[in-house]
């Protein structure tokens, strides 16, 4: 098995970029997740027979109402949860191996900043864990803060920032160690509409610059359509994939894209896919 893997990677390296682009980054096969009730009640099926393929460099959204298992799915990919059955492969490896190689960047629903660290040191934290040299860390932090538009806030403590700014710090931190895959769990759901729209545009800009594979969990249809290459619609009880919709709105997308007919057609299409659920 290990021999095969080695040959695979060698072969990959010889591939030209075009072919790599079409490569499957994350493969989810027949995945199920059942939560056992500790008090002896009925077990809850959070995910049932989910199959999904995510390509390298793709921005995909997991969209659905509460209880559809979208966060569960993200957490399984992140190796924060173990599935009951089925398999997730990331670049031919298990989520655990990818996590141990520190190739994930996660942005949580709450920014999850460390209150006792300044903005700079929050962004710096993953690099410390990676054992990067101090001067490399310093320049990288500056670069990241520029990227998320917080250049002048490095010495602030989290409590001095607004919710939107805190979430920007969370994004900067996730990108700091240049992860292969960016996992975002409803990162903007606690923000007001204006801040959220601004962050949508900024996130797309950052994504264009960094070309990460992004898995983005949301319950907001227009957010999913605006951001994604592909929207995976999940429906609850039990959580399953009910539709996968490619979004062909041309990039770069901006506020005008949000007013196009195409945009509304996609929203209607996705909304209809929820009908009868």
């Amino acid at each position: 098995m290990s021999m095969l893997n080695e040959i695979d990677t060698e072969f990959d390296d010889r591939n030209i970029f075009k072919q790599r682009e079409e490569e499957i980054e994350i493969k989810i096969e027949d995945l199920s997740m059942v939560y056992q009730d500790k008090n002896g009640g009925e077990p809850v099926t959070a995910l049932k027979n989910v199959n999904l393929e995510i390509k390298e460099g793709e921005f995909i959204s997991l969209l659905g109402p509460s209880g559809c298992g979208k966060t569960t799915l993200l957490r399984i990919i992140a190796d924060l949860l173990q599935p009951s059955s089925g398999k997730v492969t990331v670049r031919g490896q298990s989520p655990r191996e990818i996590r141990l190689q520190k190739k994930y960047g996660i942005v949580f629903q709450n920014p999850v900043l460390y209150d006792w660290r300044t903005v700079r040191r929050n962004v710096c934290m993953p690099m410390e864990l990676l054992g990067m040299k101090k001067q490399d860390r310093t320049s990288r932090v500056t670069e990241m803060l520029d990227l998320v538009g917080l250049t002048n806030f490095g010495t602030h403590y989290p409590y001095e920032l607004s919710g939107g700014m805190q979430q920007r710090v969370g994004i900067a931190r996730a990108l700091a160690i240049n992860p292969e895959i960016l996992l975002m769990d409803e990162p903007f759901s606690a923000l007001d509409e204006f801040t959220r729209e601004k962050l949508h545009e900024d996130l797309l800009e950052i994504w264009t610059k960094t070309k990460k594979t992004v898995v983005f969990v949301t319950h907001n249809i227009s957010e999913a359509v605006f951001l994604s290459d592909k929207v995976v619609v999940l429906s609850p009880h039990p959580g399953r994939v009910s539709a996968v919709i490619d979004i062909d709105i041309p990039r770069p997308r901006n506020m005008e894209s949000k007013q196009s007919k195409q945009f509304y057609d996609y929203i209607t299409k996705i909304r209809n896919s929820f009908e009868g659920v």
Partner: protein, 258 residues
């Protein structure tokens, strides 16, 4: 929110108010009630201040002796409490084994324990330090442990997602997160360690503020007695504010709420 300047005014008004009220009550006791023990029950505050001034070097050297041993014991106890909390948070078994006994240890009255410690170590200074440490470690340990146990799971998950080692998890998350809890414990323990140190003085030490208290009480030198009481109280208050000062230095990230 009141400004710093207003806070000073409030404190000043309180201090003056208490001083005047005390003077009035002392006057009432002596002149209206004609209580022969008025001087012992409640002397005039100005006479207490005068006696402190008169016996200043004496009181300060005694207070210094007691205070320095208390600080030693406090630091030792805080360190032990801190380490115990870390051990208990690292191992649930260690917590299950030790926590009940830690609680029982605090049920032994210090008044009873102090002579035992003294007969064991046969040294006044060591006894002071041991008793102060004994009093300190418990609130520090319990508070610190509750801090370590209340770290939010998403904060831990962040480190987990970077495959952080246990050591990093403690250095980068658990310990800094628990600092406010640690300081809550230290704030409780600081005046207690002073009290413990004074108590040990009373067991037959040759110096210390506790000795001053005891001798002046028996010999009927009321002014020195009250001077010692006030000095002891000030030591307790001082210890509390030293902890607060350290807290402010160590935790600049906390919103200044007071």
């Amino acid at each position: 929110m009141i400004s710093r300047k207003e806070k000073y005014k409030v404190n000043l008004v309180w201090a003056i108010g208490i001083f005047i009220a005390w003077e009035l009550v002392a006057f009432f006791l002596e002149q209206v009630m004609h209580d022969p023990m008025a001087g012992a029950k409640l002397p005039y505050p100005h006479s207490v201040i005068i006696s402190i001034a008169e016996n200043f070097t004496d009181l300060m050297s005694a207070a210094g002796l007691t205070f320095s041993r208390a600080v030693f014991g406090f630091a030792l106890g805080a360190a032990i409490g801190f380490v115990l909390a870390i051990i208990m948070s690292l191992s649930k078994i260690a917590e299950k084994i030790s926590l009940p006994y830690l609680i029982i240890s605090q049920m032994i009255p210090v008044l009873g324990l102090a002579p035992i410690i003294f007969t064991l170590v046969r040294d006044m200074n060591t006894s002071r330090i041991v008793i102060a440490a004994y009093i300190t470690f418990f609130p520090v340990s319990v508070n610190m442990l509750s801090g370590l146990n209340s770290v939010e799971s998403d904060k831990k998950e962040l480190l987990y997602s970077y495959a952080a080692k246990k050591k990093s998890i403690y250095y980068k998350l658990m310990i800094p997160y628990s600092m406010p809890y640690l300081f809550a414990g230290l704030k409780i323990a600081a005046p207690m360690s002073i009290t413990a140190s004074i108590l040990v003085d009373m067991l037959g030490s040759s110096g210390g503020i506790g000795v001053k208290l005891l001798y002046s009480l028996y010999s009927g030198t009321k002014d020195v007695f009250w001077g010692s009481v006030v000095t002891s109280a000030l030591m307790g208050i001082l210890s509390y504010f030293i902890v607060i000062l350290f807290e402010k230095i160590c935790m600049p990230w906390r919103k200044q709420t007071t």
